[in-house]
């Protein structure tokens, strides 16, 4: 049983061997204050509680070495250090004790440095989050922009390619299926007008047509309706856009679309194999939608004008013959249809969105041979053009081929 070493009033150290560093440090801290510590009565703080070992044991009861039994209050063998703090408040000693033992749950807290560090970390993380979020929104806007540009360009190209592929269907090459210009009939490098006759509706003039609203006999007149857009064509390559202005049994009258007041610009004579073809014209052209905004527009019969893409930088068409050689667009005309068309489209970025690079688009579209020329003699002086479509027979509902032909004989005959 080790002897208790009484210190100053109110402080006693029970030690068997104060040899450990902790014990020595505790003793060093407690000793200088021991003389000034005053005992107190009736205090219920922890210092008081630990000052009376016989009343309230410091350690859990048990029989392990270094613990005290509640019944006798004695320190067991093997205890390294038992410190009794003064009954009176001794803040530094208590603080040292807390430091030695560590903070208890009920008294947890942060030092100023810890708070500053946490705030700094929080600010850094906040800044990173802000940067990432801002970059994400910018990326989002950029990707929206890029996707929209890509979609507009692809869709515009596809739409033009489909119509170019249909050019001449039901018309034939002689009816000027690809016009390098606007729907109004003006040649322009950044516009194209594509003609087809999906229903295969065609008629042959039986009388000379020289005036607007002149009623003339037409073979196949029953196929036409009032207001139909038609193309008047003859063997010499004369073409004129017109509308059916009057329909009578076996007879039709026309008004020119391009001529002033609807007057026909050219006569159409049965002697020159004049014929009338119902036509579907689809035009692609650039126009200004706002003072500085150029848009690519599409106009088809029976449909309102449709804007395919905004902020268009450049639209162009290159024409190639059947051998793949580039053609001068000025050469295109009745009987001179291209074998292929290359579309060039360059879209600009939307100025209201983050800048992106929009690559220029290009697509080559081959034109199908939508008609054939059939020779009637060995030297092909006498020829007939023939175009065909596949449509539904109104009577049976079955698919069937519809054809119409036109004379293409040598002019000497």
């Amino acid at each position: 049983m080790p002897a208790a070493t009484p210190g100053s009033r109110g402080l006693m150290l029970y030690t068997t061997a104060a040899t450990t560093p902790m014990a020595r440090r505790a003793a060093a801290i407690a000793r200088p204050r021991a003389g000034t510590a005053q005992g107190g009565t009736g205090r219920t703080d922890r210092a008081t509680a630990v000052a009376s070992p016989r009343e309230k044991p410091q350690w859990h009861s048990g029989s392990r070495p270094g613990t005290r039994r509640r019944h006798c209050g004695q320190v067991q063998d093997g205890t390294a250090l038992v410190m009794l703090l003064p009954a009176t408040p001794a803040p530094q000693a208590a603080l040292s004790y807390r430091r030695m033992r560590g903070a208890r749950p009920g008294q947890a807290g942060f030092t100023l440095i810890e708070v500053i560090i946490v705030l700094a970390i929080t600010m850094v993380i906040g800044a990173v989050v802000y940067k990432v979020t801002r970059a994400s929104f910018l990326l989002y806007d950029t990707q929206v922009h890029r996707t929209e540009r890509g979609f507009s360009g692809t869709r515009s190209l596809d739409d033009m390619a489909v119509e170019i592929g249909r050019a001449g269907y039901g018309l034939g090459a002689d009816a000027f299926p690809v016009f390098p210009g606007t729907l109004a009939g003006l040649r322009a490098p950044d516009a194209i007008t594509l003609r087809s006759n999906p229903g295969g509706v065609a008629g042959r003039l039986k009388e000379d047509l020289t005036e607007r609203d002149q009623i003339v006999e037409v073979e196949g007149a029953s196929l036409f309706a009032l207001g139909d857009d038609v193309l008047l064509v003859d063997q010499e390559g004369t073409t004129e856009r017109a509308q059916v202005s009057l329909v009578a049994p076996d007879r039709l009258a026309f008004r020119s679309v391009n001529g002033p007041g609807g007057r026909l610009q050219s006569p159409f004579l049965p002697a020159l194999a004049a014929r009338v073809l119902k036509v579907r014209e689809v035009g692609f052209y650039l126009k200004k939608d706002a003072p500085d905004t150029v848009v690519l527009a599409r106009k088809a019969p029976g449909q309102a004008e449709q804007v395919l893409a905004r902020y268009v930088g450049d639209l162009g068409f290159d024409y190639f013959d059947d051998a793949g050689e580039q053609m001068d667009p000025a050469l295109l005309g009745p009987g001179f249809a291209p074998g292929g068309v290359r579309i060039r489209l360059r879209l600009l970025p939307n100025p209201a969105l983050p800048p992106v690079t929009v690559p220029p688009l290009s697509l080559y579209v081959s034109l199908e041979p939508q008609s054939a020329t059939i020779a009637f003699d060995a030297f092909a002086f006498h020829r007939v053009g023939l175009a065909g479509i596949i449509g539904q027979d109104p009577a049976s509902g079955d698919m069937k081929v519809g054809m119409h032909g036109w004379r293409k004989s040598d002019p000497r005959f």
């Binding site: 929080t122 990173v128 989050v129 979020t133 989002y140 990707q143 002086f381 007939v384 023939l386």
Partner: protein
Amino acid sequence: MALILVLVALAAVTPLALMLSDFVLTRQRQVAGLQQSLGSQAAVRGALDLAMTRLQSGEIALDPGQTVPFDLEQERRTVRVRVSRDPDAILALDGRVIDPEEAENIDPDQLVIDPVRGPVREYRKIEVYRVEAEVAARYPFAAVRLLAAVVRLDEGVISLGVRYDRGYFP
């Protein structure tokens, strides 16, 4: 607090990341759709060429009203082709197309003499065929269908008109 900030950041950035991935997929679909469309169009055009070659060689020989189908197995797509023969037609020298009912009294081999004393046929008999070729739809890509009017003459098989349709066909 830092954990909360990270969670908030994740909650803010994750939808953006999902949207960005959606954009990427959208762009991929655009390109794939265009490629699929162009590829299908080339496939049905190739089927038309093959059908015309078979008509030319006599490998496909049909009577009026008959139909022969065949399939072309290509990489990852099958082209279904139907070749049908319509009633024959008579083409006159003046460009008229005469229906078979009206052509009973016409001799297609009749010759006339032109002003320079050359023999000229007054009519030509033509065999009329329909070629339908289709690449079936495969979601999200629409089907591509080709319809072609083809005629066979003594000198060969020629196409009179071709159209492509895209969509979902019954």
